[in-house]
């Protein structure tokens, strides 16, 4: 299996170099090269065989090219915050985003290293100038790319003022009680999840 990996890597490297991409793709590199808008090898091959007809557009031509990694630190972070049913923020330029990662609250500034973070139930704060917009995120992922684009995906995200404190207290009490009376592993896990989510909701309301 490891032998195949090296041959596949080498063959992949030669293919991508021969395809005439603007920057040869280096495996495992975290840099984000600007994608070409035109598939040059396809166009050349077409013109050799059918010189009179215009080559058809390939999907590459319709896609927006990936923004390149700027040479110097960019001033703004572009955030795409999406939910399954709506797109909260789409290409919004902000100064900083604080995400509730499983490893703790993480502050993302422009020029942050490329990261993939799993989110835990907590508060997502978007800082733009002097305004801060806070959302409570149930869980999800945050992909930060090297070109200062952040894609944050969550299953459920609500502004903090839509949360009802009395329901949170009730849920917290109910799940703490379930946790102490749980028997099977699955019940314990569910009760633990309930306690975690409700305590996060609680601290979001008070903090």
């Amino acid at each position: 299996m490891l032998r195949q990996a090296t041959t596949r890597l080498l063959s992949r490297r030669s293919i991508s170099a021969a395809a005439g991409g603007s920057v040869p793709l280096r495996p495992f590199s975290t840099e984000v090269p600007a994608t070409p808008a035109l598939d040059s090898s396809f166009v050349e091959a077409w013109k050799k065989v059918i010189p009179n007809v215009e080559p058809p557009k390939t999907p590459l031509a319709f896609m927006q090219p990936r923004p390149p990694t700027p040479a110097s630190l960019p001033t703004k972070l572009t955030v795409n915050f999406v939910l399954p049913y709506a797109s909260e923020l789409s290409g919004k330029e902000v100064d900083m985003v604080i995400i509730p990662a499983t490893t703790g609250q993480m502050g993302i500034l422009p020029g942050h290293v490329a990261t993939i973070a799993e989110l835990k139930p907590g508060v997502l704060a978007v800082h733009q100038g002097n305004d801060v917009t806070k959302y409570f995120v149930s869980s999800g992922f945050a992909f930060i790319h090297a070109n200062s684009f952040a894609d944050i995906i969550a299953v459920e995200a609500v502004p903090i003022d839509q949360i009802d404190p009395s329901l949170v207290q009730k849920g917290l009490a109910e799940f703490t009680q379930k946790l102490s009376s749980a028997t099977t592993d699955l019940e314990k896990a569910e009760a633990q999840i309930g306690v975690d989510v409700h305590s996060a909701l609680n601290s979001a309301l008070t903090g």
Partner: protein, 109 residues
């Protein structure tokens, strides 16, 4: 080498997948919202489907029109009641508009 036991989250150790965990978290958050938002969120996440049993190669009348809001308890309730042999059942996922055609039992969980 580092220790072989990777630090698995408690829910995975208990046999739950990430999707189940994420859906449970989302349902808990939805249940803690203030009134107009709460009913909107819950109705947004409802799933409608009709189940018809097959006998002698012919579909029988669709029995239950189920409107399921999946949370940790109701998921087990719905899926655990009858034997879910996929050959014997036809399950049709409905959009909101088609539910009016079926005026059978409405199982609300």
């Amino acid at each position: 080498m580092a220790s072989n036991a990777a630090a698995v989250p408690f829910w995975r150790a208990a046999g739950m997948t990430y999707i189940t965990y994420s859906n449970i978290c989302a349902n808990l958050v939805r249940n803690c919202l203030k009134e107009p938002y709460r009913s909107e969120a819950i109705s947004r996440e409802k799933v409608h489907f009709s189940v018809s049993k097959w006998a002698d190669g012919k579909p029988q009348k669709p029995t239950c029109l189920e409107v399921v809001v999946l949370n940790c308890d109701s998921a087990r309730l719905v899926l655990g009641t009858e034997s879910w042999n996929p050959v014997v059942f036809r399950i049709e996922w409905l959009t909101e508009s088609k539910t009016s055609y079926h005026h059978n039992q409405d199982v609300n969980n």
